[in-house]
């Protein structure tokens, strides 16, 4: 389970998160919605320990992430796949080397590493891109390789940072199917940060809506869609201020 309790994060004078609390039970997918710059990606970085909260706690599997030492944090990260908004592939490495780096230091033999890499690339529908460099791929393909790098470790948790941003509608639908397939195959607990309502409704069990540093609404997909909160409605209907 992923749990945030009263998380506060400031960057200089600006308070980005102002007491954020929510929980994602085992096996569930939470979509985190909100306008640009509201701190959605910041929440993901707290969960994986890239950022430390100024107040409040983030717990994963019952472990307070901020209290973990380097070894504890490394152990936790072995359970978490992180899909970055722009893939964040290592551009000096081939796609296969990117995936290999994720599997290094896990005590796997060469045969299993090769098998896992082939399976992960097949899962994202790109079985032949292993020898290619990220710069040789389209944006959508890079995102899918980024997903392969996250799932190749067979994680228990996946954090998706804007997985469909900048993609055309067809590729977006493919990405939604991919997220559902990853969930079905690995049974992961997931947090999806997105602006894409259609995508969020397709892949999530619950929606949390972040507004002015706080969770303004947290409900099932159908309850969220029926919300009468004016801020939520404005977001759902895409109305300007």
């Amino acid at each position: 389970m992923i749990r945030l309790d009263g998380v506060v994060k400031r960057f200089g004078a600006r308070t980005v998160l102002d007491g954020v609390s929510f929980a994602v039970p085992e096996g569930r997918t939470l979509a985190l919605l909100g306008r640009s710059g509201t701190g959605k990606s910041v929440i993901l970085k707290h969960i994986v320990g890239l950022l430390r909260a100024d107040a409040g706690t983030v717990t994963v599997d019952g472990h307070d992430v901020a209290a973990l030492d380097d070894d504890g944090l490394a152990a936790l990260r072995r359970e978490i796949g992180y899909v970055f908004q722009f893939a964040a592939l290592f551009d000096s490495m081939t796609c296969e080397e990117n995936l290999r780096l994720a599997l290094a230091r896990r005590g796997l033999d060469e045969a299993e590493i090769a098998e896992r890499i082939a399976a992960a690339l097949a899962t994202v529908g790109l079985p032949d891109v292993g020898p290619r460099y990220p710069a040789e791929l389209s944006g959508g393909m890079r995102k899918r390789v980024g997903i392969a790098r996250a799932v190749v470790i067979r994680p228990r948790y996946i954090l998706w940072d804007e997985p469909t941003t900048g993609l055309d509608p067809v590729t977006t639908a493919t990405m939604d199917l991919l997220m559902q397939r990853v969930r079905a195959e690995l049974g992961v607990t997931a947090v999806v940060v997105t602006h894409d309502l259609r995508s969020a409704f397709a892949v999530a069990d619950e929606i949390a809506f972040l507004h002015e540093g706080r969770i303004r609404a947290h409900a099932s997909v159908t309850a969220f869609q029926a919300s009468e909160d004016p801020i939520v409605r404005q977001f759902l209907e895409g109305r300007p201020e």
């Binding site: 994986v48 890239l50 380097d70 970055f84 592939l89 551009d91 780096l101 230091r105």
Partner: protein, 229 residues
């Protein structure tokens, strides 16, 4: 934190040789280019200063001492501060702003061990190697200039070269070069990893890395002169 990164040999061991090649071997041409012209100018300058006052074989002494102890390490260091410092800062800065450093961390790698340690070690080892080549080529260039343009014979030049030579002349220059390498690479790495703000941030921090690297070389140069001379 740094000691922990150094102890994580599995993270940097495989990258050390490629980094030595990239930061060191690939820097040899620019270092030799500078050394050749430094040797030529020093020989001509010494001749200009000594003519009519000091025996001309002192040209060999001045060229040898100056190149081995000062100009070889410092000019090579300055050139490499530009080439290596900018290279490291821009590469790591780009990795930082494109979240590749974050990705590395989420995959369970310590960025200091994976990115910083191999570059700093490679530069610390390779700056003296490149400087040694530069010293040799600089002296040879001074000798060729003296023989061909100053009517100085080879025995006269080597007489001057050997007259005040001490083994310390060489190791003093190489110790300085090693410290310059460590400083330039470390500054490049730290500036790169501290980058924010996209392409503009990469440009700003790369410039800062080069400037700070050059300043560090001058400070270290004075430090070693105070400590070892």
């Amino acid at each position: 934190m740094t000691a922990r990164a150094l102890a994580d040999t599995g993270a940097w061991r495989d990258q050390l040789l490629p980094q030595m090649q990239r930061l060191g071997v690939a820097s040899v041409p620019i270092a030799l280019f500078i050394a050749v012209f430094t040797g030529i100018v020093l020989a001509l300058l010494a001749s200009y200063i000594f003519t009519g006052t000091v025996p001309l074989y002192f040209v060999g002494a001045l060229v040898g001492k100056t190149i081995m102890m000062e100009l070889g390490p410092v000019l090579t260091g300055m050139a490499l501060a530009g080439r290596v410092g900018a290279n490291v800062a821009a590469e790591l800065g780009t990795m930082k702003v494109t979240e590749q450093v974050d990705a590395l961390e989420t995959l369970g790698w310590n960025p200091r061990a994976y990115l910083v340690v191999p570059r700093v070690l490679a530069a610390t080892v390779m700056f003296p190697v490149v400087t040694a080549f530069a010293m040799a080529i600089g002296v040879v260039a001074g000798w060729i200039t003296a023989v061909n343009l100053l009517d100085l014979s080879t025995p006269e030049f080597t007489k001057g070269l050997r007259m005040f030579y001490q083994f310390k002349d060489i190791w003093f220059g190489l110790v300085k070069a090693a410290s310059f390498g460590a400083a330039v690479a470390l500054i490049g790495c730290l500036k790169g990893l501290a980058t924010s703000g996209g392409a503009a941030g990469v440009g700003t921090n790369t410039t800062r890395a080069v400037v700070l690297g050059c300043e560090a070389i001058l400070v270290l140069d004075a430090f070693w002169a105070l400590v070892l001379l």
